[in-house]
Amino acid sequence: MNTSQTDTFNNASFKMPSGGTVIEINNLKKSFGEQEVLKNISLKLFNGENLVVLGKSGTGKSVLIKCIVCLLNSDGGKINVFEKNVTELNRKELGELRQKVGFLFQSGALYDSMTVKQNLEFPLQRIKKNLTKKEIEDKINEVLENVGLADALNKMPSQLSGGMRKRISLARTIVVDPMIMLYDEPTTGLDPVTSDEISSLIIDVQKKYKTSSIIITHDIKCALKTANRIIMLNEGEVYKEGKVEDFKNSTDPLIKSFFK
């Protein structure tokens, strides 16, 4: 954990758990009307690891991580983040939690009406209120250099390519030093070269910012490159959980269809 992270974290009501489990989900259920998307999901994210959640489209992968930050309310089960049940948090506590959890959206979700600089300033000014103008500028330049787009400062999102938008979106997420990163299909819609670059960036972020991450994907190359552990979802339930090698060597037809 870097120094700035330690300071902010110790001041907050969310404490790093002693056991090293940063997220623990038990029997999570979520339905949309008649459709049961998540049936009985249980998983753990350990400190410092990259957990890849694999699965076909519509198996509830994105719903799972949206439930973690309460963008969607779960119908049942328990979601503990830093040993606090997120479903029981009040608005203030939820705000504090969201400062610790970065979320990279599938579409990038950059604010169209703002420049890249304003996009990065937006969360910084709201989450790290005590920073001076100079510190904000330094922080923005630092993260832009980290994602390899230092010259995009004054561009509008419409002037950026798909890969650049993903990088800027990643920069906007890491600019507030989150401790947990949730990636929602980070390589979807990108060419293989850019996908590989984004996968490398995910590893760089893990190393540099000491983050623990859940990566939602169905891109096997990305999964193999970034994962420390993999969980496969099927029909709203955990189908298999294990190390990368367990999945590679599996004879299960569904798993083989992903890894062939």
Binding site: Q99, D112, P123
Partner: protein, 284 residues
């Protein structure tokens, strides 16, 4: 035996017909119940939306910078459109009514008549309808596209209350700026009327204005200004509600913008009707 044969055929037919008509009736009843239920749900959603806006308006962390930005967007950026329509409004009203007033020998009443009709009715309603088209649809489309591209969710995970940042600022800016735009349109309308009066006549600028305002009383301004605030609030509310509650696909952005204009325009007319009735009862 043969005589009874048709009776045997008719009974099942009747039974079938009755069953079918009952089935149709129940289907219609279900459909109407569902649509009534949806309507009531919509109404409760709108009420909850308004309550949330009021609550967030009086919260401590008011987004003042964004509010000023929205005032600039709604007010300043609408000036060219309102200038043109306001001027034309006065010009057309004068050109149309002048021949009639000449026939009655009441052409000297022209400035007063135009000023009163512009200030009391035409200025507020026509400007509000134009604002419903420009501002209401803009809000619906902007918030709708933000919803579709997950920007509102991104705001939420950045510890920013999107309701406070996006909705409250827009509704308040519209409530404040639209009355100002209406007063501006009234002023330009009277100026356009002077220009219209000079097409076929020769009327001094100062004389025209002194004649116009000699007929206008404070009581003509007050109800118009009060209802203008309601027009602004309605346009802001509808635009934001439709955009904020847009569906998931790109098609829903168009639907949000379109329905924002239609509903805002309709509500402007309804609010005007109510305002006129209240004014009529209380003042005149």
């Amino acid at each position: 035996m043969k005589k009874f044969t048709p009776v045997k055929i008719v009974i099942p037919k009747l039974r079938n017909a009755t069953e079918q008509s009952l089935k149709k009736l129940s289907e219609k009843t279900i459909a109407k119940t569902v649509s009534a239920n949806n309507f009531l749900t919509d109404i409760s959603d709108v009420l909850l939306f308004i309550i949330r806006i009021i609550k967030e308006t009086f919260s401590r962390n008011f987004e003042f910078k964004e509010f000023l930005h929205q005032c600039f967007k709604i007010g300043y950026k609408s000036l060219p459109l309102i200038s043109i329509t306001g001027t034309i409004m006065g010009l057309v009203l004068t050109i149309q009514s002048r021949p009639v007033l000449v026939n009655f020998g009441a052409v000297t009443m022209l400035p007063g008549m135009v000023a009163i009709s512009l200030i009391r009715e035409m200025g507020p309603v026509i400007t509000a309808l134009i604002c419903a088209g420009k501002i209401g649809s803009g809000m619906g489309a902007e918030l709708g596209s933000m919803k579709v591209t997950e920007q509102i969710e991104a705001m939420e995970v950045s510890s920013t209350n999107p309701m406070r940042f996006l909705v409250v600022t827009r509704v308040l800016a519209a409530t404040l700026m639209i009355p100002l735009l209406i007063l501006y349109a009234d002023a330009l309308g009277i100026f356009g009327s002077w220009a219209g009066a000079n097409i076929k006549g020769d009327l001094n600028f100062v004389l025209f204005f002194s004649q116009a305002f000699s007929h206008v009383k404070f009581i003509d301004f007050l109800p118009a200004v009060i209802k203008s605030f309601f027009f602004g609030a309605v346009i802001g509310l509808v635009g934001c509600y439709k955009g904020y509650n847009a569906g998931r696909g790109t098609e829903s952005v168009g639907v949000a913008a379109n329905s924002a204009v239609v509903l805002a325009s309709l509500l402007v007319i309804i609010v005007d009707l109510i305002a006129v009735q209240i004014t009529d009862m209380l003042i005149l």
